[in-house]
């Protein structure tokens, strides 16, 4: 084996962890005989250890482990009825939103246009709220993702009443995603469809 061939082999050698790996045996034997190759290998190992040490200096944020441990996981594998329930809620909620928007857009019926009101309350991701009663700051990240991904968005007023938030001609998810789980005041037109309270958003005021 030439020196260059030995170097190509030993480029992957990491020290003790690879000592038992037979692919390095011949090249290591060469390095024991050849001082120039031995010096090259010593430098390689020093560089390997220095880079490894630097990378292993990296520390995660202090609260990462706690965040992972406390994050509520939806136990899909434990109870499939929960998954089906969630899927049903998503489909029903999405359908309600889609139908409401279509009706507002195409028919513009007087019944869909209600009085203008102000509602102050928490912005909700309706899917998780209805299926699992999840809301509040601990659920903010999930709510933000759900709203951003187009799932129905709502607001729970200070009096406890929940409204589905809809836009005039298009969904308002993009405008509301950053306010997920935050308290805002929304000015809009209240309407009722099949007993479901809706608010057609006209203005969002963040506190």
């Amino acid at each position: 084996m030439t020196n260059d061939e030995a170097k190509q082999k030993l480029l992957l050698y990491r020290g003790a962890i690879d000592d038992a790996d037979p692919q390095f045996a011949e090249a290591l034997a060469d390095a024991r005989r050849d001082p120039e190759l031995a010096e090259w290998l010593r430098q390689q190992n020093s560089a390997y250890n220095a880079i490894r040490a630097k990378l292993r200096e990296i520390e995660p944020p202090r609260d990462l482990a706690e965040t992972i441990i406390r994050r509520p996981a939806i136990p899909f594998h434990r109870d499939w009825t929960q998954l089906l329930k969630l899927a049903a809620v998503v489909i029903v909620s999405a359908s309600v939103t889609a139908v409401a928007l279509k009706v507002l857009q195409r028919q513009n019926r007087p019944g869909a246009q209600g009085r203008e009101i102000l509602v102050r309350g928490e912005v909700l991701d309706m899917t998780c709220y209805i299926a699992y009663n999840l809301s509040g700051p601990e659920h903010a990240q999930c709510a933000r993702d759900c709203i951003r991904n187009g799932l129905p968005v709502g607001i729970k007023g200070e009096n406890g009443k929940v409204y589905l938030l809809v836009g005039k001609t298009k969904p308002v998810n993009a405008e509301l995603a950053d306010y997920a789980a935050k308290i805002v005041t929304i000015k809009g037109k209240e309407s009722l469809r099949d007993g479901f309270a809706q608010l057609q958003v006209e203005e969002i005021r963040k506190f």
């Binding site: 992957l12 990491r14 090259w40 390997y48 880079i51 490894r52 520390e59 995660p60 990462l64 899909f76």
Partner: protein, 171 residues
Amino acid sequence: MSADPEFENLVKLYYRDLYRFGLSLTGSEADACDLTQETFYIWANKGHQLNNPTKIKAWLFTTLHREFLQICRRRERFKHEPIDQATENLPEISADVVDRLDAQTIVNVLGKIDEAYRAPLVLYYMEDLPYKQIAEVLQIPLGTVQSRIARAKVRLFQLLNETAPPIKQTQ
């Protein structure tokens, strides 16, 4: 919500290594946190499917890597440089060059390397995994792992030497 003690122990055992792997792949603290969280989230939902407890670490690394690849496909924002096929010129690097760099700079340099080469290189440096296990984690053949690490290492040395040129000794 109270956590499962078994899950809590698993998180405490592996979250640092997974975070470091995530940071070295993405170069972003926020993305590394997201990947680490997502990995444990998937474990909470699917980990029961793993029958061999000795494979937990490899399973977690494989999952994080797979999630990273999905993010890459979705965002297409992680920059990388393709690596030349030839590795005949082996650049040298001294520990002194590395000592003058901080961990974040090394992570930034790793970010310039093509993802397909970066992941095996990071595992090569950070985890005491035999090559066969690195191949299992990344789900690519052993020979491919070794050739990618060799090429990536050459590229890393070139980039590190450019970032912190060796100090010339004066006579």
